[in-house]
């Protein structure tokens, strides 16, 4: 009779199942179904002969869950270690919930705000030169790195065991703060870089001696601050989202109307 003791391989397998975390995503319990499903084979092995326990364990873990999938293995590994150590269910739940938020922050910052923009920028510039390498590099680099993240965090959680967990969540919080500082820096930079608004308005100033001089408003704006118009427009959108609680739909419509009207009036280009 095969053992119901988990071996390292079970941890790795569960880590890789993070890819399935969002397969049942919904607005009720978010990644809850997925979480239970990711854990399923390991739980099945632990409670090999005990359908009641498996049922209970799955039901417990269907509850609301939401984190960044690439850092999920850290949580699942800890979870399994604790189960094997017979940690009380309530404690496990606490830790799962405590880590979920910070890891979402860390993971989203890393994957979506740092790695993706970085490789997308490089990939796009290669694609712009007509090289198929562009999308390939993007796809391969992202997946290679994120696969590594999954495996490393999974193994790290496995090795870490339970002993230092208490200090962990505070630490994660701090690291998450750092990650969001970096993320905000990058996103702000990208916003400035990719939102493009300039004005073609010019006027002709008459100078002494019947000379004339063309004065471009855009140049004066640049003298005040480079890329001022994109910044102001992004600020406006931000305000509409934050304070006026506009939906994306309204924002897109506003932007398109503004763009078309101002372009027709030759106020922006």
């Amino acid at each position: 009779m095969a053992s119901n003791q988990l071996v390292k391989n079970d941890y790795v397998k569960t880590s890789l199942r993070a890819y399935f975390l969002q397969n049942g995503f919904n607005y009720g319990n978010y990644q809850g179904l997925g979480y239970a499903n990711v854990m399923y084979p390991a739980l099945r092995k632990m409670y090999k002969d005990d359908d009641d326990k498996l049922q209970a364990a799955l039901k417990d873990n269907i509850e609301f869950f939401n984190t960044n999938m690439h850092f999920l293995p850290f949580i699942t590994s800890l979870h399994l270690v604790m189960l094997e150590n017979k940690t009380p269910a309530k404690e496990i739940r606490n830790i799962k919930m405590a880590l979920m938020g910070p890891l979402a922050g860390i993971g989203d910052s890393l994957a979506q705000f740092c790695l993706a923009p970085l490789f997308a920028t490089i990939g796009a510039s290669l694609a712009q030169e007509g090289l198929i390498m562009g999308p390939i590099l993007f796809f391969v680099a992202m997946n290679a790195i994120l696969l590594a993240v999954k495996l490393l965090t999974g193994i790290w959680g496995y090795k870490l065991g339970t002993n230092i967990i208490e200090t962990l969540s505070a630490r994660m919080e701090q690291i998450s703060n750092v990650a969001s500082m970096i993320g905000v820096t990058v996103i702000s930079g990208l916003a400035v870089n990719f939102v493009k608004i300039t004005t073609p308005i010019q006027y002709v100033a008459s100078m002494p001696g019947d000379q004339q001089k063309v004065v471009a408003i855009q140049e004066m704006i640049d003298a005040i601050a480079p890329r001022l118009l994109p910044v102001l427009f992004t600020g406006l959108i931000f305000y509409l989202i934050k304070v006026k609680k506009w939906t994306t739909y309204k924002l897109v419509i506003l932007t398109i109307i503004l763009g078309v009207v101002l372009s027709v009036l030759h106020l922006i280009a």
Binding site: G24, Y27, I182, S188, A191, K242, T248
Partner: protein
């Protein structure tokens, strides 16, 4: 240019794969990737790549789904936009205009996905019921249902987009020059929404300095993306290591003050 039924099916499958990949987190749901595939299928890789590049940069800010939020979907430019760009190359539609024209689709797809997530909430009770009956298989079906729906949705979008491309071309060829130019201008403004959405999720007033640093790095110092990230990292670590307690204790209360934000 017309699209064969075989190509329509291929585009449908490709879109299904790419959209499902969004849930798998494998970054196929990006304009850069999708457009290249469509280009290959339609035998015009260069236009596919060009469209992918332009759309990727414009959707950079939208390429983010955080905490379950759903941004306009890159299938807009990546699938529909690329079809437009390739089939109408001869009629004066360049990738810029194709991008602008594909925006309504990106928003429409966003609707569809939001609806899917909402509808999928029924899966939970289905799963509970299956578990009550110790029907573990049923539970696993529920746990994988969203991604299956996505594959179907993706196929419909891809196939439909390709299949109806002729009708699409007719409609689009009616668009006057001033409008398509205006849409082009609007297209370059649209990324602002994506970035503002992210900043809205992340922003606490303590992060204002980092917003400014991002601005300086790009607007004044012309750093590349990676450079901005390195600068951000340097300063974030500076705060982390050298402001010690000040920093970490602040955090909790920050969460509280989050509501009134910046």
């Amino acid at each position: 240019m017309t699209i064969s039924i075989f190509q329509c099916v291929l585009i449908g499958l490709w879109t299904a794969f790419c959209l499902a990949g969004m849930l798998f987190g494998i970054y196929t749901n990006r304009c850069l990737v999708m457009a290249a595939g469509v280009g290959l299928i339609l035998g015009d890789l260069p236009t596919g790549l060009a469209m992918g590049a332009v759309g990727e940069l414009a959707f950079m800010g939208f390429g983010v789904s955080q905490g379950g939020s759903v941004p306009p979907n890159p299938m807009g430019p990546g699938i529909v936009g690329t079809i437009i760009a390739i089939t109408m190359k001869g009629s004066g539609i360049d990738v810029g205009s194709a991008l602008a024209l594909s925006f309504p689709f990106a928003v429409a797809f966003q609707f569809v996905i939001t609806a899917t997530y909402t509808f999928a909430t029924t899966l939970t009770s289905y799963a509970y019921k299956a578990l009550d009956r110790k029907n573990f298989k049923g539970f696993r079906i529920a746990a994988n249902a969203t991604v299956c729906i996505f594959a179907v949705v993706g196929f419909v979008i891809g196939f439909g987009g390709a299949f109806s491309s002729e009708g699409l071309q007719k409609v689009i060829s009616l668009i006057p020059a001033w409008l398509s130019e205006g849409l082009g201008v609007a297209g370059k403004m649209l990324p602002a929404i994506g970035f503002a959405m992210i900043l809205n999720v992340m922003a606490k007033k303590e992060l204002i300095p980092f917003v400014l640093i991002g601005y300086i790095a790009i607007a004044y110092l012309n750093l590349p993306t990676m450079g901005v990230a390195v600068v951000g990292t340097a300063i974030a670590l500076l705060v982390f290591f050298h402001m010690g307690k000040g920093g970490s204790e602040t955090v909790e209360e920050v969460e509280v003050e989050f509501e009134d934000g910046i």
